[in-house]
Amino acid sequence: MSVLVWIEQSGGSAVASCWEVLGKGRQLADELGSPLVALLMGDDVAAGADAAQKRGADLVLTASSPTLSNYRLSAYADVLTAAIREANATVVLTSATLRGRELSAAVACDLSAGLAPDAVDLRIEAGKLVAVRSVYSGNILADITFKSDIQVASVRPRSFPLPEEGAAAGEIKALDVAMDEAAVPEKVLESKSAGGGEIALTDAERIVSGGRGVAQDPELGFKLVADLARVLGAAVGASRAAVDAGYIPYKHQVGQTGKTVSPNLYIAAGISGAIQHLAGMGSSKLIVAINKDAEAPIFGRAHYGIVGDLFEVLPALTEEFQKRLG
């Protein structure tokens, strides 16, 4: 028996949210009294394998091959399945990134194993995994219990703290899997990153979001949002009203029909706080609202508020933080 965690690599380095999963995996493994195994796949996995040891894995399985340099489901699923067999894993975890969700589901289906996608919490009860899921678009919580011996879950980013790095211990072992490029049907012809050092909403520790409150000058409004985000090292979010009005692309939308986020700090500027917006950001640790209407519902969920015009408040905040953070 073991707990196996897939450490996703992207652009040559490990995806940060996978370490959160490894940290939780450590706790589950200790409760089960079984080893914690990390799996790394790619063309160069040395740095990731070293980091996985430092963050608590008892055993690191690696698969490196040019065929694995680009993520492709069919090749990655073969390796993960081989790793589950090798490690005799009964709990299999990934981060709920796009790839983690897809890969965990594919392997669970192949092995006729139960799956808890996008879990927000995990625990062990009577030797079995129990996963908490948020369903009905954030309006219902449910515990997922498993019948199968192999129990698979993908874990929503920022559900668990990042584990500290310690001294590397344990073993690194190369998996013996034959990769055959000709057997992989998907071909990646081109890939481009969003660039500009843009911070992904779902991973962000801080988010500054704008809403319809920018309407009198949307371009300036979202520039002010982005300016504050930049000094805070924050990602830029938006309400659906702002997205629907074409002020900013859909990928920035937070809420029931957009992204679910749980940063340490969420600043909502010119957002009224509709229930569908709250469904996507209500679990943020600290919420700050800037709104010119003191009666706006967002103040019912915020910890700090400034009643005022975002066109004045945002630049003042940016200036203030610039002074303090240098």
Binding site: A106, L141, T145, A302
Partner: protein, 261 residues
Amino acid sequence: MKIAVLIKQTPDTAELPKISAADASGGQVQATMVINPWDEFAAEEAIDLCDRFDGDSVAISFGPADAADALKHALAMGVNEAVLIENDADSSDSGDDWTTAALLAAAIKAQGEVDIVLTGKQSVDGNSGSVFVGVARKLGHPLLVNVLKITDVADGVITVQRGIDGGEETVSAPLPVVISVAKEINDPRYPSFMGIRKANREQIPTLSPSELGVDMNSAQTAWTNIRKPAERHTEVKIIEGASVPEKAAKLAEALIAEKVI
């Protein structure tokens, strides 16, 4: 070219906040049921691909008898045919995502040669984003998720643009494939009045799990302790001050003290 599009009937998203724990436990929700909004993008793409590459489309759903309405929405938009997999009346177990995937995969096979299976990005009730993965694995087809654009289909190979975390990728795969579409792929049309009238007259053929040879009691997971998330009540601290810069300074101070910056 033959295209299958997978359509789920789900509660109207505007009514999701009202769903009670009892509703979700019983699987019988007190809400207006509609076509899963993400599946409208899949239906639109199916119609569009049929126009571009001269094909036929079939919409497939697994659900209760009234899920036929969601299929009728797809027909009214312009999908050519529809099939409903209706749960056998004497089976209270509706299975898990893999049961659903097995049913849908079997129904797709029953359509003859299907080149492209289109699905939405997730259901607004289950929120799994897993059923299309299961369908692809059970059919043994390559899977391309979060597709932003179908660039080309030629010589048995499909080329798409897909969104990945932090960027985009151009990927190709040999047909047949399963594709889940992103919201960015198109703007779903509204059904025309004529389309609605025609769809309403259609008798939608049904298949049963037993006809498809799928065991409804094979679920590997169960939902328990179904509950509403705890209501959060926060006491807001409104930052007062004589001027905007003064308020900004006070807020900055508070956020630094809270250690979120």
